[in-house]
């Protein structure tokens, strides 16, 4: 399968990429890792007239830690996150887990975090992770650069707050405190398949052992990744325990709105969403030394 014809432009700086995107408007798409875009083009699900390749913009190839923020540039590969020096720290356990299960190890050497967020696939891994971690995305538009909270960034399936002529430059994750742990749980039929269901969780504890903050999100559970606000509400202020986990899991199963397909029925997938949130919470609390 060969994609429809297009014009190829290679940008060497963020300014150049932005100028080309402004010039070509809705005809143009950004080409970063290409691991979702190129298959979509091959299936003719996407037919951009112009591709603006940003892979040679060295300024966008960064993973930086500073001012309480982890910044991941638009062409930083999934594999760079997987191999980051800090990825083994407990506070980053959600990112640790997800960085090992996105697609497959070869695809992760091209695929990017920011590209995955911009693609906003209903079964994306980074989208649910960004929700649980309360990330933000830096977007450059005509009026300048703005920082968009992930909840506002993810609009609908394959649709984000990045409009025509705009470009997402980086993803920002707040650095969690050291009493934080997370977990990413995903069920897939085989390596590289879309998730049947997936859950991202991140919890922070107070000194007295109660939950200070919680992030719970699902993927493959509706038009795009979704925050389970009810589970977060249930968790905050409480001491970790089996009943608490069950309540959060029930909220997740209730929130999940999947479609039936070859991977399972609606009832199965809703149940699975709850099971994965429970597993994730148990693992995250376990990583904080709380065995349930």
């Amino acid at each position: 399968m060969i994609p429809a014809a297009f014009d190829y432009l290679r940008a060497h700086s963020p300014d150049e990429a932005f100028a080309e995107l402004q010039k070509h408007g809705s005809d143009a798409r950004v080409l970063a890792g290409g691991q979702s875009m190129i298959p979509a083009m091959r299936f003719r699900l996407a037919r951009p007239a112009v591709l603006v390749d940003i892979n040679d913009i060295r300024d966008l190839d960064f993973i930086r830690m500073g001012d309480g923020t982890l910044s991941i540039g638009a062409i930083a590969r999934d594999s760079a996150v997987e191999r980051a020096s800090w990825i083994g720290e407990r506070r980053w356990s959600l990112l640790h887990d997800v960085s090992r299960v996105v697609a497959d190890p070869v695809v992760r050497q091209s695929g990017t975090v920011v590209g995955s967020l911009c693609h906003n696939d209903p079964a994306g891994d980074w989208t649910a992770t960004a929700l649980a971690a309360r990330a933000q995305v830096v977007v450059r538009g005509k009026a300048g650069t703005r920082t968009v909270p992930i909840d506002a960034f993810l609009v609908d399936s394959f649709t984000t707050a990045v409009s025509e002529g705009e470009i997402a430059l980086e993803a920002r994750f707040p650095v969690p405190d050291d009493r934080t742990a997370g977990s990413y749980q995903k069920v897939e039929r085989k390596v590289g398949d879309f998730a049947t269901a997936a859950a991202a969780v991140q919890v922070s504890l107070n000194a007295d052992g109660t939950v200070r903050a919680a992030g719970v999100a699902l993927s493959a559970a509706g038009p795009c990744a979704v925050r389970v606000d009810e589970a977060e509400r249930v968790l905050v202020g409480q001491k970790p325990g089996a009943d608490l986990i069950r309540a959060a899991a029930d909220a997740a199963a209730k929130k999940s709105a999947p479609q039936a397909d070859l991977r399972g029925s609606v009832a199965y997938k809703k149940n699975l969403a709850g099971v994965l949130v429970a597993r994730g919470l148990r693992q995250a609390f376990g990583r904080l030394g709380v065995t349930i």
């Binding site: 399968m1 060969i2 994609p3 429809a4 014809a5 297009f6 014009d7 190829y8 290679r10 080409l31 290409g34 691991q35 190129i38 298959p39 083009m41 091959r42 591709l51 390749d53 892979n55 590969r77 191999r83 090992r100 697609a103 497959d104 190890p105 070869v106 695809v107 050497q109 091209s110 390596v191 590289g192």
Partner: protein, 161 residues
Amino acid sequence: MKVKVTVNGIVYARDVQPRTLLAYFLREDCGLTGTHVGCDTSSCGCCVVVMDGGRAVKSCTMFAVQADGHEILTVEGLASGAALHPLQQGFWDQHGLQCGYCTPGMMLASYALLKQNPKPSEADIREGLAGNLCRCTGYQNIVKAVQQAADKMREPVSAGR
């Protein structure tokens, strides 16, 4: 569009459509048919090549124009003259192939893996090759082949690259 891609140390200057995929560029424009196309949908890993010395890429999911000005290593570039690369020798010695269709992709994905991790455990190899499918071997001998290559490449005087 005119492109210059260095493949296995040789510059190939060609005129291609932007939509030409790297796998087809290598096979049809450069005549290097060692790179195989399996699933053609980024799932099987038969088409894996190495870009700029260390990044394994599925060449069915990259455009040739993206490789303009870059270096590509394919299976044809592994051996030095008559001397097989340790990965090739490993696959030979350990019977790491039967039909051979997945083998170039297996070797190039392993090449990138060993660059990142010169001393992989068995689990590291199995995880590292999770994006490469083999329908013949059951993987046991592929893992042994990569282990042999890793051992060989860590020897003080390596025969490999």
